[in-house]
Symmetry: C2
């Protein structure tokens, strides 16, 4: 085989993988937005077959041979191509280590589990979910060995979501956070509570939709390349760097849920839209890791979106959308309301300060589940004990407890820490951004272009060209969780006059 | 190979073809409904690759061997399976007779042509479209030889859209129609024109949307399996018999365009939703031909939708949606307005009577183009001459002339006659339905269930199990175009007091 021929095959392989991904994404998007209610079965058949075809395509021996051939000549490859081969070799090795029958069995299990979880959550019935969760945990322990048998199983899983991260790293990270956050929460508990009652008024969905359009404009999201839809759970879905979709969910009785979900998903979308054209239709075309992705979404949502300058910039316009609801409210009151810190039960509704504690509960449980020191049947009791210990709240039922998240039913163990890591990466990026440019002057005028440009240049454009840790390091130096802790301490001390 | 093994492979092949079709449909649906404006390129890449993968899958030599193996043992196969093998052998032979490079070149050409046609139509500039149209015609003449070299090229193309139909058949059919329709049109021209001015008032889109929902309810379309969307050109898209989508386009200045497009597409949807479960995920799962499909859409649109009993049934409710616009209008006036016969320029806006003349113009041109007796450069002049001759109207520009339809740019030559055939099949089905059941009693009460049941039993359920001509024959005996002519003559004589 000639090198040029091999490179052409490499490009073709990646374009095919892109096409299968686009097909599955399109069916998923349809299923969660406009598809008629009782149509899941036929879509499931198509999705299953496409996943099988993709698996067959990518796990073929010729692919292994092609990648080996190219790797043997890696010194002749340009950097992006070399990186593609490196990434594809890693995925190929992982995929081919999982026996095909186990792969298919697992795909069917997660499909079923999602259904069972939905029903179990609705009925708040953990026992219904328990048998599938047991199977999912067993599969993940086994798969961890396929991923990397030299690592502890949970370390191998963590590495899948954020390469280079392990329990030792996270134990230190979370210990630092707990040490700094818990005293803050206690101190805030002694203070007068912030009034956020005006967030909980009737906000008509039609006006909220227009407000979303406005927010997307402020975020600088080009509607010719990014639309917004409505789904039960908000998400971002990328086809390529010219075609990204975000979704939200409107709560007629609260204005901030959708507002910050739009800004959050908008941050994910900015990342995908900012990835370099050169990487399109290759395996490097998406965001590099869950942690880095969350750093972008939470950057826009919290560091910018929940800042006083940003709220001041958008509040006059916001009052035009909701003149009755916000008539007597000032920008500063609104800023304080959306930053009210209060230990609570639901992760996705948690404030910026207590959020990481929700993640820590899940981290502790996953560590023990995958480590084999916690039986699935004991998850609810452990969950409830940890919520009491970390957040001081009593969990009334499993629906608002260990059944609240979809991740485990989707087979994701080791994903949750990415949320906390992303928040910490973001705080560090902000520190460096502030050293490089005037962040708050333009933001207080509603101009996010400088912020966006900095993030595009330092983070977005690279896609998967670098390792996640290197992307972070490139943007803001060595990872240091105290920067995030300092940020929280400063913000909440000011808010609550500590 | 064992027979059981071969049957399993046959089922697997068809499920894969279904999955590729579902993927492409989903991307197409997305692209025409909710996708951001500037995202066609990335979707095109995915669609092209998926088409290529589907082609590779289906044209593989093993598929030919499998089908030959099964055909050799056809006497042992159950009827539906035997029919699947027969159909797949036909498609396989056709696909493999087209050289792969020509197939790909043609796919790229139609992709480009659609774009060029859009621009040419916008500018009313035939010269812009001419070079691609020349290529499209040349390709179709060549492909006709691959389809069936024993037939005249246009016969081979016609056979693709409506198996068993050829020029001899259509010449007779259209001659009968012309002979009967043209005198009717002349007679109507001498009469006082029907007042349809109230159709052309401002009808707010939001109210039209609600009216569409109501129409779907009357049609008996289960919204859990069929939704309605909005696109530039209305269409029906089926994933399977549990998942069908229709679209419409609202014109703020006219109520009947969207009304009858919803009923028309609803007729297509009824067909797809009525196909037997046993045929799902096989090549027999869709409607059997374009002609039979149009027989269903035009049955609901014209024979039912434009009938007096139907209008009388829905009109009270319709006036609730449009109290100001239809306040002083009676059901009978509305019935007369939506049946106003008037030679015009645009096929898709034509009334039931003159519609077939629009089709005949296209048929004559296609016959000569593919037959090699008409040069592409002479299409506009021929078009304009035939419109004058058949319909008595002067074509002011190519935008409202030979550039109005998308079919040729999509590579479809031989499709148009299906519309007229469908209308004629429908009239014959109505005749037989009236012999079997009380059609108009229930319809006048807004109850279409008996009509739907008859069509499901006689037509829908069979999907592709029978040849198109046999489906028609099974439902209403030997094809006889005078039934359609009689129907038109009776309806329009009454309407205009001839």
């Amino acid at each position: 085989m000639e090198l040029n021929e091999a490179l052409a095959k490499l490009a073709e392989l990646q374009r095919k993988l892109y096409a299968y991904q686009a097909a599955s994404s399109s069916l998923y998007l349809d299923g969660t937005t406009v598809a008629p209610k009782d149509t899941a079965e036929g879509r499931g058949v198509a999705l299953g077959i496409l996943a099988g075809e993709r698996h067959k395509l990518f796990s073929a021996p010729e692919v292994g041979e092609l990648l080996d051939f190219l790797w043997a000549r890696k010194d002749e490859l340009e950097h992006p191509v070399r990186r593609q081969v490196e990434e594809l070799r890693r995925s190929y090795a992982q995929l081919t280590r999982i026996p095909a029958d186990e792969y298919m069995e697992y795909a069917m299990l997660t499909n079923e589990a999602s259904d069972v979880w939905h029903r179990a959550k609705e009925k708040s019935d953990f026992e219904l979910f328990r048998p599938v969760l047991e199977k999912l945990v067993a599969f993940n322990i086994k798969f961890a060995g396929y991923y990397d048998s030299t690592k502890a199983p949970y370390d191998a899983l963590l590495n899948e979501y954020e390469r280079g991260v392990d329990m030792k790293y996270l134990d230190g990270f979370f210990a630092t956070l707990r040490e700094r956050i818990v005293p803050l929460i206690h101190a805030i508990g002694e203070k007068e509570q912030i009034d956020d009652s005006f967030l909980w008024r009737p906000y008509p969905v039609e006006a909220q939709r227009k407000f979303s359009d406005y927010l997307m404009e402020v975020l600088g999201l080009d509607r010719a390349h990014c639309t917004i839809g409505e789904t039960e759970h908000p998400y971002t879905l990328e086809f390529n760097n010219k075609d990204v979709r975000i979704t939200t969910n409107y709560d007629e009785g609260n204005v901030s849920f959708s507002m910050f979900s739009v800004i959050h998903e908008g941050g994910h979308a900015k990342y995908e839209l900012g990835i370099s054209d050169d990487l399109q239709y290759t395996c490097l075309a998406g965001g590099v890791s869950m942690g880095v992705h969350e750093s972008q979404s939470r950057f826009y949502e919290n560091l910018i979106g929940r800042s006083l300058p940003f709220i001041q910039a958008i509040f006059p316009k916001m009052r035009e959308f909701f003149p009755e609801q916000l008539g007597g409210v000032t920008a500063e009151q609104f800023y304080r309301a959306v930053n009210k810190a209060q230990p609570s039960l639901i992760r996705t509704e948690a404030d910026e300060l207590t959020y990481c504690l929700h993640v820590m509960v899940r981290y502790e449980i996953e560590k023990q589940l995958i480590g084999g020191t916690l039986a699935v049947k004991d998850v609810p009791a452990t969950w409830n004990r940890l919520y009491k210990e970390y957040l001081g709240v009593d969990v009334p039922d499993d629906k608002r407890g260990c059944l609240q998240d979809s991740h485990w039913s989707g087979g994701s163990f080791g994903y949750f820490p990415s949320y906390a890591l992303g928040s910490a990466y973001g705080a560090q990026m902000l520190r460096n951004m502030e050293q490089d440019i005037d962040v708050w002057g333009p933001v207080s005028k509603g101009d996010l272009s400088q912020v966006s440009n900095w993030l595009r240049e330092k983070v977005h454009q690279y896609g998967g060209l670098m390792e996640p840790a290197d992307v972070v390091k490139n943007a803001c130096g060595d990872f240091d969780p105290t920067v995030f802790a300092d940020y929280l301490e400063k913000k909440y001390s000011e808010l609550y006059g500590l």
